[in-house]
Amino acid sequence: MKYLAIFSVLISTFLLFPSCEEVGPTIEFEAPLVDTSFISTVIPPKQSKVVVIEDFSGVQCVNCPIGNETVSAILEALPGQAIGLTVHGGDLAVPYPNSTEDFVSDETQELNTFMGIVGWPAATFDRVPFDGQEFLFVLGQFSNWQAFAESRLTEQPIVNIDLKNTWDEESRTVTTEVTSVYTEGDPDPHKLSVFLVESHIIDPQLAPEGKIDDYEHNHVVRDMFTIATGTALSADAPVAGLTVAKTFQLENIPTDYDMNNSYVVAMVHRSGESREVLQGVEKSIID
């Protein structure tokens, strides 16, 4: 009887484990509408460097408004040279009962995991590590954020990115054409991430002075045209002149998303050991 019980436990173990469901990594099952590439013999001049700041936030994160304000101040100080993305995710991003919006999506959650965020507010500046920092992201330390962003502007981008958006009100569909042109080659594989971003959203937010019900949320990542970790730009290492044109579409965009306050952000980044963002670009959806 004793042995029967032991073997029953063993057999149960065998059967129990495989029945456990698991959440796998994000795999891209939809191809871009258009995906073409060619190598041009004419190398265009380099664009000016644009730094991408990802501000990891949450509506119940008391210090996150400081992070939001710091990013807004940087964008004001560096017009046309910096892009802000507010990425909601993690334990402190659960909406309040009176929230009308949930800024957390599968993509923003995965970005938190992908960047290894362990606290909020946190920020990345082109996803590169800075001296004295333990992680790829910066936890707090708001007074250093502008210096980190400015330090990235000394880099010369090796890829130019152009965006063209079209909006179809009837089907509430955004179509975005992203053209990446390499001005230099690089041995690393690169990826392209494309975000749908909205500003001026009024919804509750915890702040040091207490909960603010009419807080203005800016640069909020609403959705992504690509998977969270980006879509591969080309199968081979890029060479100078490589031109990759990809067209993506987001359909049935919720009616509460205000397209007048929305824009598309695209960035090309490394996808090997380094995750460095090489260049970013933003463009409004409705001119």
Binding site: F7, L10, T13, F14, F17, C20, E22, G24, T229, T231
Partner: protein, 577 residues
């Protein structure tokens, strides 16, 4: 127990040190600590009632490289600048009553065993340590653990030095004898990553990131002269997030229609049983696994469940033995992750259905188990019609869904008359070797096979009780079907063509042995000489030789790896104590 705790804390201390100090210095400190502890134990009086016992072994291989462009022994780091290489393993064991512990010092200096002579590997440090203690029916072990569940079809942690395979589980193991019939075993840990051990980022403990754990139960009963040995095993491997991110990136780079969501967890199980009745023995095993990421022959990732069926039936009586083995494999490659290839990260072991040949040309073309798709079987017969005459025959066949992979027909007969000074063995081997699949090396035209015909003989003559001479003669003919059987196949060189081999060896038992051999490439007009000598005294053996070796495939138990040509001096020392 206090001593075990001391040892573990020492190791832990060294590991912590590693985080702040130089790796090599720390590894040396760790080695010294472990050795000191081993030396301390006999004096410490852990249990004065029974004296402790030291045992161990050492193996040293050394090579000096001499460039020979004609055979391809050139233009690698070994011939360009390294000029010499060595590997050494020193194992020290200590046991006292129910306590066992051991430590192994590994050294690779510009070693060529991991790459098959392509790139040099360097690593010095503790390659293994373990502590094992038995308390009543329960035995537990911590450290680097070599073990396997059943035949190893879902889990085998083992070492094959010639191939650079060293994949113990670094973790813990517990074994519990439920009674005299049933033994339970559990193991958990991570597989040693020997490639990290030989890298510049070497740590004191080097493992793959995925986590492996398993359970095994085995029994043994006899009922009315029928003996049963059943067993069941379960194994789970969990891929870590960083490894999975790399896998996901690769999947996202594939065509849309070939993409899938990979699983972090692999679950594998096996049921097996051996039944012995009089002269008969039957072994049956079925193993299966859940969905897992696999790599196909085109280097693309795909998702599949897998299974394995294996059975052997044998009969033996005086003067006669016969055995039949059948194995079917379907997507049954189990590794720490699909990012590992060739001999890296192997979690299970699937032996090939082929003879383990030792003669040089007879063993030139070996089958490598194809875990993704293979049906193989082997029939072995040994017959001794009268004393002094032994005949051996083998028929082995392996194929996948599309084509034949390997076929071997082998026969030898040995005459060893009582009280005669001589012994002679002669035989014939026919092999069909799918070189396009097994070496990814297609031949000219549409031909995918090397088909061989290899007659061989071995003659031994005893001058005196201590002095003897052994002669081997072999000839490997390729294009057998065209040359001998009149096939209308187009004439072209198969692999490196025909070979002839001769060896003369003198033995002065029990100490000295000297041999000279030549493997001659008929089509390439190249000689591959080998002049070797060895000296054995007690448990010590020293050998030295000058050799030229042809490039090819080196296999151990169905695991194969390409091997570059070699020219130079080889030395070896082995000892046990």
């Amino acid at each position: 127990m206090r001593l075990i705790t001391s040892l573990l804390s020492l190791v832990s201390y060294e590991n912590n040190l590693l985080m702040h100090h130089n790796t090599r210095v720390t590894s040396v400190l760790a080695a010294i600590s472990l050795l000191c502890l081993l030396l301390y134990l006999p004096l410490s009086g852990q249990d004065q009632s029974s004296p402790g016992r030291f045992s161990g072994d050492i193996q040293f291989n050394g090579r000096v490289f001499a460039t020979d462009s004609a055979i391809g022994a050139a233009n690698t780091p070994f011939y360009d600048w390294a000029k010499s290489s060595s590997e050494s393993w020193l194992q020290l064991n200590y046991s006292q009553n129910s306590l066992e512990m051991g430590v192994r010092f590994d050294m690779y200096n510009n070693s060529d065993i991991f790459s098959g002579g392509v790139t040099e590997a360097n690593g010095i440090g503790i390659g293994r340590w373990f502590v094992k203690k038995r308390v009543d029916n329960f035995t537990f072990e911590g450290g680097y653990i070599y073990d396997q569940f059943g035949s190893g079809s879902i889990l085998r942690a083992y070492e094959a030095r010639a191939l650079g395979i060293d994949n113990p589980i670094v973790g813990v193991k517990g074994t519990y004898d439920l009674n005299e019939h049933i033994r339970l075993k559990g193991i958990a840990g991570k597989q040693k990553d020997v490639r990290s051990f030989i890298s510049k980022n070497r740590q004191f403990i080097n493992t793959y990131s995925p986590y492996i754990k398993g359970l095994n139960a085995e029994g043994n009963w006899s009922v009315n002269k029928i003996n049963f040995s059943p067993g069941l095993s379960f194994m789970n491997r969990t891929i870590d997030e960083e490894t999975m991110a790399t896998i996901a990136t690769e999947i996202n780079g594939q065509g849309i229609d070939t993409r899938f969501v990979p699983k972090y967890n692999l679950y594998a199980y096996s049921f097996y049983n051996t039944v012995n009745f009089k002269n008969w023995s039957l072994f049956l095993e079925y193993a299966g696994k859940s969905e897992d990421v696999l790599r196909d022959y085109d280097n693309s990732l795909y998702n599949s469940t897998g299974n394995m069926m294996y059975g052997t039936l044998s009969y033996s009586q005086k003067g006669f033995g016969i055995s039949l083995a059948v194995k079917k494999l379907n997507d049954f490659d189990i590794r720490t992750s699909p990012l590992e290839q060739l001999t890296s990260g192997l979690v299970n072991f699937l032996p090939p259905q082929m003879r383990q040949n030792s003669l040089r040309l007879v063993s030139r073309y070996n089958h490598a188990t194809q875990p993704l798709d293979e049906l193989s079987y082997m029939l072995d017969v040994v017959y001794t019609p009268k004393k002094g005459i032994t005949m051996t025959g083998t028929y082995a066949n392996a194929e996948n869904e599309d084509e034949l992979l390997f076929r071997e027909i082998y026969f030898d007969i040995e005459f060893k008359r009582p009280k005669k000074k001589w012994k002679i063995m002669m035989g014939l081997q026919l092999v069909d070797y799918n070189i396009a699949v097994l070496q990814a090396k297609p031949l000219e035209g549409d031909d995918r096979f090397v088909d061989t015909f290899t007659p061989f003989t071995e003659f031994t003559y005893k001058f005196t009780r201590r002095k003897s001479m052994r002669v081997e003669l072999q000839y490997l003919l390729t294009e057998r079907d065209r040359v001998l059987l009149g096939s209308d196949k187009e004439e072209h060189l198969q692999d490196l063509g025909d070979w002839a081999y001769a060896l003369v060896e003198f033995n002065f038992a029990p100490k000295y042995s000297i041999s000279i051999s030549d493997m001659y490439a008929i089509d390439g007009s190249e000689h591959y000489y080998d002049l070797s000598a060895s000296y054995t005294k007690g448990a010590n053996r020293f050998s030295i030789g000058w050799a030229k070796q042809v490039e090819g495939i080196i296999c151990t138990g169905g695991i194969c790896r390409p091997e570059s040509a070699f020219s130079g001096l080889k030395m070896g020392i082995s000892s046990t104590f």
